[in-house]
C-alpha cells in the first residue's frame, strides 16, 4: 500500500516551496498545485480500488516505526480511502476552479489550498488525539486564509470571527486532549476506545471536551453565527471547501471518536436534529445565495450528526445512511457553491440568469432535487432507510423532526429553483462560462447521478425495477437540441413500444393495473400527439414529460413500497418541471411542489410504519397491518389526497392546471390525478378489510362529497376557461373519492367508470380549450365568443365533452350517474349522495358557461380571422371522442370486465347482465337501447325541422331584435361576465376561500418564526463567542 505519509510530505513540502515562488512563477506554481492534488487523488483512488477489489487490506501505519505513544498512527481503511478520495477530488477541482484567482493573486493561495487539503487528509487518517489538534489548527488557519482572500470589509470581519470561534473550539479540544493524556497516559485513539468503559471521571469529562469541540466545529444551531458569516462573505469556492471537504472531514473525525463516549449519542441526535430543523427554518427568509447555502450546509451536516448519534437504532445501516446523505450533500453543496461563484450575485432572484445557459440550469435543478432527497440520488435511499429504521424503533418524534426539517429545506430550495426557471427579468446578466468552472460543476452533477445509480443497486427493494424508461430519458436529454417534432416522434415511439411491452401482460394478470397503465400510457401518447403543434426545439420539455410518465409506469409495476415511492417521486419531479413551463406558473409550481412533498413525506412515514409493523417492504404486506392500521391508513390516504386535490389540499390545483401549457394541462389534469386514485385503490384493497378503516372511509366519503360540491360551485364563478376546468377536475376527483370510500361493489364500479370517463372528457376539454387558447391568445372567456363559426371542430368536441361530463344520456357520463344512484341506495349514504347529486347538477352551470362564452354569443372583431384548432390537437381529441362514443354505445364492453375485476374484492352487489341490459338491486338500464332510441328520435325530429325550415335565410351576426336599437359592439352584446351573480349571492358563501386563507396563515406563521429566529444572528463576533460558551455549558449540563 502506498504510504499516506507521501500526502503529508508532498503537501507540506510543496506548500513551503510554492510559498517562495514569486509572481512570475504563478503559472508554474498553479500547475504544481494541480499536479499535487492530482497526486493525492491518485493515491486515494488506488487505495479505494484496492479495497473494493479485495487486493488491499486495511492497515495501520506508524510513523518512524515506533509504537504509540512514541509515534503517530495513521489508519487507512475502506472509509478513509473513500473519504480521502472525495476530498482530494474536491481539492483538485478547487484548484482548477480558482485558476484565475491563483494566477492573479500574489497572496499565494496555492500553498494555502495544498496545505489545507493535506491537513484534511491527515485528519481523516490519523488516530492520534494531539495530531488531530495540530491538523485542526492548520485547517483553521488555511480556511481563514481563504476567507480573507477577498479584500472587503465583510470578508475581513468574517475571517476574524472565524478565527475567534476556532480559537475557542481548539482551546476546548486541547484541554480535553491534555486531560485525556493525563488520565490514560496515551494519545492513541485505539487505546482510548479500548478503555472507554473504565475511564475515571476526569477522563470522561476530557472526552466530553473533545467531543464537544468537534460538535462545535460542525457549527450546530444556534452557536453558528460565525460560520454563517463565513459562508456569506467568503468566495463560494471557499464555501464549497468548508461545506464539502471540511464538513466531511470533521464528521468523520467525530465518527471516529464517538465510540469513546457512548453517553453522548442521545445528545448527538438532539444536537443534530435541532440544527437540521432550526437551520432550515431560519433559512426560509434568506435572500443571499451563499448564506442560504450556508444554512443548508449546516442543516445537512446536522442531519448527518444525528445519524451518527442514531447508531444504536440504525445498527449496521448507519454507515449506509450517513454516507448516502453525506455523499449527496458533498456533491450537491459543492456544486451549488461553485454555481454561486459563477453567477456572482447577492440575491437568489438574480439566479434567473441561469436561464441563459441551459446546462447550468439543469445542474442547478439536479443539485436541488438531490438535496431534497428525490430519486435517483443517494439521499433518496438514505432517507428511505433512515425513516424505515426510525419507524422500526418506534422513534416517531425523531421521524417527524427529520421530515419537518426536510420539508422546510424543500420550501426555500424550490422557491429558489422557481426563481431561476421562471422569474422574469428585463435584463438577465450574462454568466461567463469558462472551462475551469464548468468542468468541476458538470462533473459533480454527473457523479451525483452515478452515485445515485450505484446506490440504487445496493437496495434490495429495487430488484424488480425496470430501468429502461430512465435510460430512454437520458437519451432524449442528450438529443434535446433537435427540433420538437423529431423528439416527439421518438417519444411517442418509445411510449408505444413500452405499452406493447407491458400492457398485454397486465391485461391477463392484473386488470386494475392494466386500466391505469392504459390511462397513463395511451393518454400520454395522445397528449404527445398534440405536441406536434409546437414549433422550434421545445427544450426541456421531453425529458421531463417522459420522466413523469416513467414515474407513472414505475408506479404501476411496483411490487415493493420502495419502488412505489420511487415512481411517485419521479412522477412528482417530472410534473413539477412540466407545470412550471406555463407563463405565469412560478408561484403555482411552488405551491404544487410543496403540497406534493408534504404528501410524499406522509406516504414515506406511512410506509415506514408499515415496515415497522410487518417487517417487509412488499406492497402486499400492507394487507397484514392490524395494530397501527388507523395511523398508517390515514397517513397514506392523506398523502394520496394531496395528489387528488381533495378539499383542504386542493389550493394548488387551479393555478397549476390553469397556467400550464396547452398540452400539459390535459397531461396533469386527466392523467396525473389518476395516480392518486390508483394509490387510494391499492391502499383500500390492502387495508379495506380492517375494521378501523371503515371509520376513516366514512370521513373520506363526506370529504369527497363536499369536495365535489365546492369544486363544481367554484367552477361556475370562474371567468378563466382553464381555471374553470381545473376546479371541475377537483370536483370530479371528489366524486371518485366518494365512490371509493363507499367500499362496496357498486361504489367501486362507479369510481372506476368515473375515472375512465373523467380521463376521456377532461382530456378532450383541456386539449380543445388549450388549442383554442393557443389561437385566441387569452384564457378569459368573456374575451372570446362566437367562435362556433371559426372553429366548428372545437365546438363539436367541447359539446361532446360537456354532454359527457354532465351525465346526460345517452353519452357515457350517464353510466357513471346511474351507477352512482344505485351505489348510494345500496350503501345507504343518502345525504352524502344528495350532496354529490346536487354538485353534479351544478356542473351544468359552468358547462353551459364554458361553451356559451367561448363558442356562442357574439364574435369579437379581433377574433374574426382566427382559424380552427390545430390538426395536431384535433387528432387526439377526436380519438378520445370515438372512445366516448364506443363507451356510450356499448357500455357493457367496459362495465362487464370492470365488474368481474371488482368482484374479486367485493363479490356482493354486482350488476346482473342480460345482453346489454344491466340490472341492479334497485333499477335497470339498457345502454345501447337508450342510445338507439334517443338517436332515432333525435334524427327524426331534426330531419323534420330541417325539412320544415328549408327555406330559412341565414343572417349575419348582429341581426337580432334589440328593442328598436342597434347593438353596438360585440363586447357589449356578449353576456358572459359574472352571469351567475344571483347564484353567487345565494350560495357564494360555500366557496369562500377559507382554506386558501388557512394555508396562507400557516405560511405567514412559519415565515414569522423564521424571521424571529434570525434575530440571534446579530453579526457581533463577541456575542457569537458567548453563544458558543453558552452552548457548551448547556450541553454539559444536559449530559451530566
Amino acid at each position: 500500500m502506498v504510504s499516506p505519509f507521501y500526502i503529508l510530505i508532498v503537501g507540506l513540502g510543496l506548500g513551503f516551496l510554492l510559498g517562495l515562488a514569486g509572481k512570475k512563477q504563478a503559472a508554474i506554481s498553479n500547475l504544481l498545485s494541480l499536479l499535487a492534488m492530482a497526486f493525492f487523488t491518485a493515491i486515494s483512488a488506488h487505495w479505494l480500488l484496492g479495497f473494493l477489489s479485495g487486493n488491499l487490506q486495511a492497515e495501520t501505519v506508524f510513523s518512524a516505526g515506533f509504537k504509540p505513544p512514541y509515534s503517530i498512527s495513521l489508519f487507512i481503511g475502506l472509509h478513509e480511502a473513500a473519504l480521502s478520495l472525495l476530498i482530494n477530488m474536491l481539492g483538485f477541482f478547487t484548484v482548477m476552479y480558482f485558476r484565475k484567482a491563483l494566477l492573479n493573486e500574489s497572496r499565494k493561495l496555492g500553498p494555502v489550498i495544498l496545505v489545507l487539503f493535506m491537513a484534511l487528509n491527515m485528519l481523516i487518517f490519523t488516530r492520534d488525539l494531539f495530531n488531530i489538534f495540530v491538523f485542526l489548527e492548520i485547517t483553521t488557519i488555511a480556511i481563514s486564509g481563504l476567507v480573507l482572500m477577498d479584500d472587503n470589509h465583510q470578508a475581513h470581519a468574517a475571517g476574524f470571527k472565524y478565527l475567534l470561534a476556532s480559537a475557542l473550539i481548539s482551546a476546548f479540544y486541547l484541554l480535553g486532549t491534555v486531560l485525556v493524556y493525563n488520565s490514560t497516559g496515551s494519545l492513541w485513539i485505539d487505546d482510548l476506545l479500548a478503555t472507554k468503559n473504565a475511564l475515571n471521571p476526569m477522563a470522561v469529562i476530557a472526552v466530553f471536551l473533545i467531543i464537544i469541540a468537534l460538535i462545535l466545529e460542525l457549527k450546530p444551531f444556534p452557536a453558528n453565527g460565525w460560520a454563517l458569516d463565513v459562508y456569506q462573505a467568503a468566495h463560494p469556492g471557499t464555501g464549497a471547501i468548508v461545506s464539502g471537504a471540511a464538513g466531511t472531514t470533521m464528521l468523520f473525525v467525530l465518527y471516529k471518536l464517538m465510540p469513546a463516549a457512548p453517553f453522548i449519542s442521545d445528545i448527538l441526535v438532539g444536537v443534530g436534529l435541532v440544527t437540521f430543523v432550526g437551520s432550515n427554518l431560519i433559512a426560509l427568509t434568506q435572500n443571499h445565495p451563499n448564506r442560504l447555502l450556508g444554512y443548508s450546509s449546516i442543516g445537512q451536516i446536522g442531519l448527518i450528526v444525528s445519524i451518527i448519534g442514531l447508531q444504536p437504532y440504525l445498527g449496521e445501516k448507519t454507515v449506509f445512511v450517513g454516507f448516502a446523505i453525506l455523499l449527496t450533500h458533498f456533491f450537491a453543496k459543492a456544486g451549488l457553491f461553485w454555481l454561486s461563484g459563477m453567477v456572482g450575485k447577492d440575491k437568489i432572484q438574480d439566479w434567473a440568469a441561469l436561464r441563459r445557459n441551459p446546462i447550468l440550469l439543469v445542474l442547478f435543478g439536479t443539485f436541488v432535487f438531490a438535496l431534497i432527497g428525490f430519486p435517483p440520488f443517494p439521499s433518496f435511499f438514505g432517507k428511505w432507510e433512515l425513516i424505515l429504521s426510525l419507524s422500526a424503533n418506534g422513534q416517531y418524534y425523531l421521524l417527524g423532526a427529520v421530515l419537518a426539517g426536510s420539508f422546510l429545506e424543500g420550501i426555500y430550495l424550490f422557491r429558489w429553483l422557481g426563481y431561476s426557471i421562471k422569474l422574469s427579468f428585463d435584463d438577465l446578466h450574462e454568466i461567463k462560462l469558462s472551462w475551469e468552472k464548468i468542468i468541476p460543476v458538470s462533473l459533480w452533477g454527473i457523479l451525483l447521478y452515478a452515485a445515485g445509480i450505484y446506490t440504487s443497486t445496493l437496495m434490495n427493494g429495487l430488484v424488480g425495477m425496470d430501468y429502461l424508461p430512465l435510460i430512454f430519458i437520458a437519451l432524449i436529454f442528450i438529443i434535446d437540441g433537435l427540433p420538437a417534432y423529431i423528439k416527439n416522434t421518438i417519444a411517442i415511439a418509445g411510449m408505444l413500444f413500452y405499452s406493447w411491452l407491458i400492457l398485454p401482460d397486465l391485461y391477463t394478470t392484473d386488470m386494475l393495473r392494466f386500466i391505469f397503465a392504459g390511462i397513463f400510457l395511451i393518454g400520454g401518447i395522445l397528449t404527445f400527439i398534440a405536441g406536434y403543434a409546437y414549433k422550434g426545439a421545445r427544450r426541456g420539455f421531453y425529458p421531463v414529460a417522459l420522466l413523469m410518465y416513467a414515474g407513472l409506469a414505475m408506479l404501476i409495476q411496483a411490487t415493493t413500497t420502495l419502488e412505489f415511492f420511487f415512481g411517485w417521486e419521479l412522477m412528482t419531479a417530472g410534473s413539477y418541471f412540466l407545470i412550471i413551463r406555463g407563463k405565469k406558473s412560478m408561484p403555482h409550481a411552488l405551491s404544487y411542489m410543496l403540497f406534493s412533498i408534504g404528501g410524499a413525506y406522509a406516504i414515506l412515514a406511512g410506509f415506514g410504519l408499515s415496515f415497522a409493523e410487518t417487517g417487509s417492504i412488499a406492497l402486499s404486506s400492507l394487507s397484514q397491518i392490524s395494530q397501527m392500521a388507523t395511523i398508517i391508513f390515514t397517513l397514506l390516504v392523506v398523502g394520496f389526497m394531496t395528489k387528488t386535490a381533495s378539499l383542504g389540499l386542493h389550493i394548488w390545483l387551479p393555478g397549476a392546471h390553469a397556467e400550464a401549457e396547452s398540452d400539459v394541462s390535459p397531461m396533469v389534469s386527466a392523467i396525473l390525478l389518476k395516480a392518486g386514485v390508483f394509490g387510494i385503490i391499492i391502499l383500500m384493497i390492502a387495508m379495506g378489510h380492517n375494521p378501523e378503516t371503515a371509520n376513516i372511509a366514512y370521513i373520506l366519503g363526506w370529504l369527497g362529497a363536499i369536495t365535489a360540491l365546492v369544486g363544481n360551485l367554484a367552477a361556475a364563478f370562474q371567468e378563466d376557461a382553464k381555471r374553470l376546468l381545473a376546479y371541475s377536475s377537483i370536483s370530479q376527483l371528489g366524486y371518485i373519492l366518494f365512490a371509493l370510500a363507499m367500499m362496496s361493489h357498486l361504489g367501486w364500479l362507479t369510481a372506476m367508470v368515473y375515472s375512465l370517463n373523467h380521463f376521456l372528457y377532461k382530456a378532450i376539454l383541456f386539449l380543445t380549450i388549450g388549442a383554442v387558447v393557443m389561437k385566441v391568445g387569452t384564457h378569459s372567456m368573456y374575451k372570446m365568443g362566437g367562435l362556433i363559426k371559426n372553429m366548428p371542430m372545437a365546438f363539436i368536441a367541447v359539446l361532446i365533452g360537456i354532454i359527457a361530463l354532465s351525465g346526460v344520456p345517452p353519452l357515457s357520463g350517464f353510466a357513471g350517474k346511474w351507477l352512482f344512484y344505485n351505489a348510494v341506495l345500496d350503501k345507504h349514504w343518502y345525504f352524502q349522495g344528495a350532496i354529490v347529486f346536487f354538485s353534479g347538477i351544478i356542473a351544468f352551470l359552468y358547462l353551459f358557461k364554458l361553451i356559451y362564452s367561448v363558442f356562442l354569443g357574439q364574435l369579437k372583431d379581433n377574433l374574426r380571422h382566427v382559424t380552427d384548432i390545430s390538426v395536431w390537437f384535433a387528432i387526439p381529441i377526436y380519438t378520445l371522442i370515438i372512445g366516448i362514443m364506443i363507451f356510450s354505445a356499448k357500455p357493457e364492453w367496459v362495465l362487464q370486465p370492470l365488474g368481474t375485476m371488482i368482484g374479486q374484492w367485493y363479490p356482493d352487489g354486482a350488476l346482473a347482465w342480460n345482453g346489454g341490459m344491466a340490472t341492479s338491486a334497485y333499477g335497470y338500464w339498457h345502454g345501447t337501447g337508450v342510445m338507439v332510441t334517443i338517436g332515432i328520435m333525435f334524427v327524426t325530429l331534426l330531419t323534420w325541422l330541417l325539412v320544415l325550415s328549408r327555406k330559412a335565410q341565414k343572417v349575419k351576426q348582429f341581426n337580432i331584435v334589440f328593442a328598436a336599437e342597434a347593438p353596438q359592439r360585440p363586447e357589449t352584446t356578449h353576456v358572459s361576465y359574472n352571469i351567475y351573480a344571483g347564484y353567487n349571492k345565494a350560495l357564494g358563501w360555500i366557496v369562500a376561500p377559507k382554506i386558501t386563507e388557512f394555508w396562507n396563515m400557516m405560511t405567514d406563521w412559519v415565515h414569522s418564526l423564521a424571521l424571529y429566529g434570525r434575530l440571534i444572528y446579530n453579526g457581533n463576533g463577541q456575542v457569537y463567542l458567548l453563544y458558543v460558551m453558552a452552548y457548551f455549558l448547556t450541553i454539559y449540563f444536559l449530559v451530566f
Binding site: 362566437g786 362556433i788 363559426k789 354532454i803 354532465s806 351525465g807 350517464f814 350517474k817 346511474w818 344512484y821 344505485n822 341506495l825 345507504h828 343518502y830 345525504f831 349522495g833 344528495a834 347529486f837 346536487f838 347538477i841 351544468f844 352551470l845 353551459f848 358557461k849 356559451y852 356562442l856 354569443g857 357574439q858 338491486a921 334497485y922 333499477g923 335497470y924 338500464w925 337501447g929 337508450v930 332510441t933 334517443i934 328520435m937 333525435f938 325530429l941 331534426l942 325541422l945 320544415l948 325550415s949 341565414k954 343572417v955 351576426q957 341581426n959 337580432i960 331584435v961 328593442a963 347593438p967 356578449h974 353576456v975 352571469i979 351567475y980 344571483g982 349571492k985 345565494a986 350560495l987
Partner: protein
Amino acid sequence: MDFDLKRLGFTLLGLLIVLNWGLLMSAIMRKMGARVARRYGIPWRQPWVDLVKNYAIRSQITHGVMFYLGPVFRFSGGVGIFLFMPMIIGSKLWLNYSFQGDLVLIMYFQFFGMLGMALGAGEGGHPHSAIGISRGLSQFTVIEVPLTLAILSLAIQYQTLSLVDIVEAQQGGFQNWSMWTNPFATAAGMLAILGIMGHSPFNLVKAPNEIPIGPPTEYHATFLGVLRTNAAVLHVVEAALFMNLFFGGATNWFEFIIKTFLIYFWSVFVGVVFPRFRIEQSVSWFLKVPLVLGIIAIILFM
C-alpha cells in the same frame, strides 16, 4: 319485431294523445286565468291555430347550425321523457320504452332538453337569451335538490328505482298512494314541480316584463312551432311523472287526464296568486323549506 312495431305504434298514438291533451290543457288554463281576471279568454281552438300558424309562416331566418339544434334538443327532451315514461299502468301497450331505463334515466333526461335549448338560444347571439338561460340554469339546479331527495326517499321506501314498480306498489286504493304513505316526499316534490312548470313565482326565466325579447322573439316560425309543441308535451309528461311517483299512476286514459290536469293546475293556481322571485331569492327558497322536507322524507325511511 312484431311486438316492436306494435309498441312503436302505440307509443306514437300515445304521443298524439298527450300532445292534443297538452294543447287542450293549456287552453283550459288560459281560459281559467282569463276568467279569474274577468276576461273572456281565448277560443278553445286557439292552441291548435297557433301551432298551424307557426308552422305555416313562410319567411324565416336562422343564425346558424346550433340554432336549429336548440328546438330539436328541446323537443327531443320532451319526447324523450315521454318515451321512457310509462303512461298507463296495467297494460303492456302504453308503457312505451320504459323497459330501457329507470327513474335515473328520466331524471337525467330532463337536462337533455334544457341543455340543448340553452345552446340553441345562445347561438342567436342575443344577450337576453344568455341572461334568461343563466337564470334558468341557476333555478333548475336548485329545483332538483328537493326533487332528488323526494325521489331518493321513494326509492328507499319502495326499494326500487323502476317507475313501473313504484306505480304498481301504489295500486289498490287511495291509501296506497305515496301521498299518504310518504307525505314529506310528496310535499317536497310538489314544491319542486312549481319550479319545473315555470309559472310564477319561478317564471323569471321567461318573464315577459323582464326579458321582452330574447328566445321568444329570436325563435319564430317553425322554430317556435316546435318549441310550442314541446311545451304542450312536456307539461303533460312532467305532470305524468309526478302522477306516477306520488299519486298512484293511471290505469286508464280518463284517470290520466284528470290527474295530470289537477297536478298542472296546482302550479298554475300558485302562479296566479304569487308574484315573481328574483334568482337569488328562488335559489334560497328551494334550499330552505323544500330541502328540509326532502331531508325529513329521507330520514323517515332510512
